[in-house]
């Protein structure tokens, strides 16, 4: 077992016990994203609250443990934060994932999401990890546009 194993306990935990899974009403925007190369899918809803806060992120989907766990972590990190805060987390997560294993993760910003650092070395898996996060960014833009 190597130090940087992709399957951190935390990822498996989120996979087996996903947080906030299921599609909930009401919502401001719903998006459906697919990764055509591996068939991973996610449907994701965003509900904005007061003072630029994210009131709820609800989702449903299918795919590998990385894609599913990433959605669960996303739910935890975004719900209750301001839109602005969450978008900077998304940016940091994207930077980490696209860094090909050479980027140092900022734990303060990423929290639990640092568990995905090992994924960055596998380009084919990066898309799995990013699927829900890209869907979230998309949904936020759409809900803000309403």
């Amino acid at each position: 077992m190597i130090g940087e194993s992709m399957y951190q306990e935390l990822i498996l935990e989120h996979y087996k016990h996903p947080q906030g899974r299921g599609l909930r009403d009401p919502y401001d925007a719903e998006v459906h994203h697919v990764n055509p190369t591996c068939g991973d899918e996610i449907t994701l809803r965003v509900k904005l609250g007061d003072a630029g806060k994210i009131e709820d992120v609800s989702y449903d989907g299918q795919g590998c443990s990385i894609s599913q766990a990433a959605a669960s972590v996303l739910h935890e990190l975004t719900t209750g934060s301001t839109v602005e805060e969450t978008l900077s987390v998304v940016d940091e997560f994207t930077r980490l994932m696209q860094g090909r294993g050479k980027v140092e993760a900022d734990e303060d910003v990423l929290g639990d999401a640092v568990a995905f650092a090992g994924v960055a070395k596998f380009p084919a898996r990066v898309k799995c990890a990013l699927l829900s996060w890209m869907a979230y960014k998309d949904a936020v833009v759409r809900s803000a546009a309403r």
Partner: protein
């Protein structure tokens, strides 16, 4: 145990990476040769020695190093020609990979400057492929029919992973200009009934191309006996270097085809407003070719011939029999492809209930150093056909052992425990 005349322990010593430790102290169990094979010292050293001590451009250079490189490069062509039983060495064209070879042939059709009726293509004409093809034998033909207005048709695949030739006469008709199918599937392991396809194609005057990327590395394949018109394969899957592939074609067809890429080496004479072209094979080798890579491929076929293609085939057959048995014992494992040894190679793709192949592959690697391939293996339509997004694939080669298959089975049990 497999019964074979091949000393696998001795062979493993020829491949330095096989005794490597992966980070974290894992041994390497390499079951991904269908994706790309490992390289024996003989190939690595040929590449090194040529690059370091004999390198120069080929053909055009008229000095000692030029002669050494040209001689080595053209000898590699001789070796490959002999390895595949090509009627003529000039029918062996070096490309960068199998994909270029397939694209080269696809681009030969429907070129407005070429009036040879075998290579004209337009609305009403048809191209036939199959549902089990690698993307490299699908997309070039999609491009072709998009450019020309011709129609793309395809063989289906049966539930047990065979080419569905039930309606071969309805599929291959007088309108068919070319049929291009895999000799052996890179997912199912299925070896396709080339003779049946050829027979029908000949009846209607269609050309036949075989994507032999998965057969030439594993079986003695003889161009004359095979009887196809074009055959593509790739060096990196047959213990050769990356950056080198092969197109074999019948000389009279290659002569009739327009050139594909233009540039140095492929010309006879150039004026500003027109050019004449070199005879094959050079007509299709524009620019400086992958010189050292071709020479490395020559060393690879020498190596394979030294071991013996019959011995390699027998060894892989033994491994496949062993693996088919062993995998049957893994709960919920579903094999995608023939479950008997009949007309199949050493490639086994499967699913496990409720566990995504990406997770299977990554855990096998993370915990045991077992390298398998997971995903759609560049054959997405085949996976759509079976209603699954992905499979896990183990593929064997001359250096694999039954111990490694045991390790795979143990690994799969572990994966099932982790995700239980």
């Amino acid at each position: 145990m497999t019964s074979t005349s091949l000393d696998v322990e001795r062979i493993r010593k020829d491949f330095p990476v096989l005794s490597r430790e992966l980070p974290g102290g894992r041994p390497l169990v390499y079951l991904d040769s269908g994706n790309s094979s490992q390289k024996p010292t003989a190939v690595v050293e040929t590449v090194r020695e040529h690059l370091a001590m004999h390198y120069s451009n080929v053909g055009r250079a008229m000095h000692a190093l030029g002669a050494e490189s040209t001689e080595a490069y053209e000898s590699a062509r001789d070796k490959v020609a002999e390895f595949i039983g090509a009627p003529s060495r000039d029918e062996v064209i070096f490309t960068k990979n199998a994909s270029e070879a397939l694209n080269l042939v696809a681009y030969s059709f429907g070129n407005p400057g070429n009036t040879d009726p075998r290579f004209t293509l337009g609305p009403g004409d048809e191209v036939v492929i199959s549902e089990m093809e690698h993307h490299s034998n699908i997309v070039p033909w999609q491009f072709l029919v998009q450019r020309t207005g011709a129609t793309l048709k395809w063989f289906g695949v049966t539930d047990d992973g065979r080419l569905d030739i039930a309606d071969i006469s309805g599929l291959i008709t007088e309108r068919t200009k070319i049929v291009s199918i895999a000799h052996q599937s890179n997912v199912l392991g299925t070896i396709n009934p080339v003779a049946d396809v050829l027979r029908r194609a000949r009846e209607v005057g269609a050309l036949v191309m075989l994507d032999a990327s998965q057969s030439v590395p594993h079986h003695a394949v003889d161009m004359a006996a095979l009887g196809a018109d074009f055959v593509a394969f790739t060096g990196h899957k047959m213990v050769g270097p990356s950056g080198i592939g092969v197109l074999w074609g019948r000389a009279e067809l290659l002569d009739a085809m327009p050139p594909f890429m233009g540039g140095g080496e492929m010309i006879e004479a150039v004026w500003m407003d027109h050019s004449t072209y070199a005879p094959v094979p050079h007509k299709f080798e524009a620019g400086t070719p992958p010189i050292v890579e071709a020479i490395g491929l020559g060393a690879a076929v020498d190596y394979l011939t030294g071991v013996g293609m019959e011995a390699i085939e027998a060894h892989e057959r033994g491994l496949t029999a062993y693996a088919l048995d062993a995998l049957r014992e893994v709960p919920t494992l579903r094999l995608i492809g023939p479950d008997s040894l009949d007309q199949r190679g050493a490639t086994l793709s499967f699913t496990l209930d409720g566990i995504h192949p990406h997770d299977v592959g990554q855990l096998l690697d993370d915990e045991f150093g077992i390298a398998v391939r997971v995903g759609h293996h560049c054959a997405r339509p085949l996976h759509l056909r079976f209603g699954i997004p992905a499979t896990t694939r183990a593929s064997f080669y001359l250096y694999n052992t039954t111990d490694e298959i045991d390790a795979l089975v143990r690994g799969l049990h572990h994966v099932q425990k982790v995700f239980a």
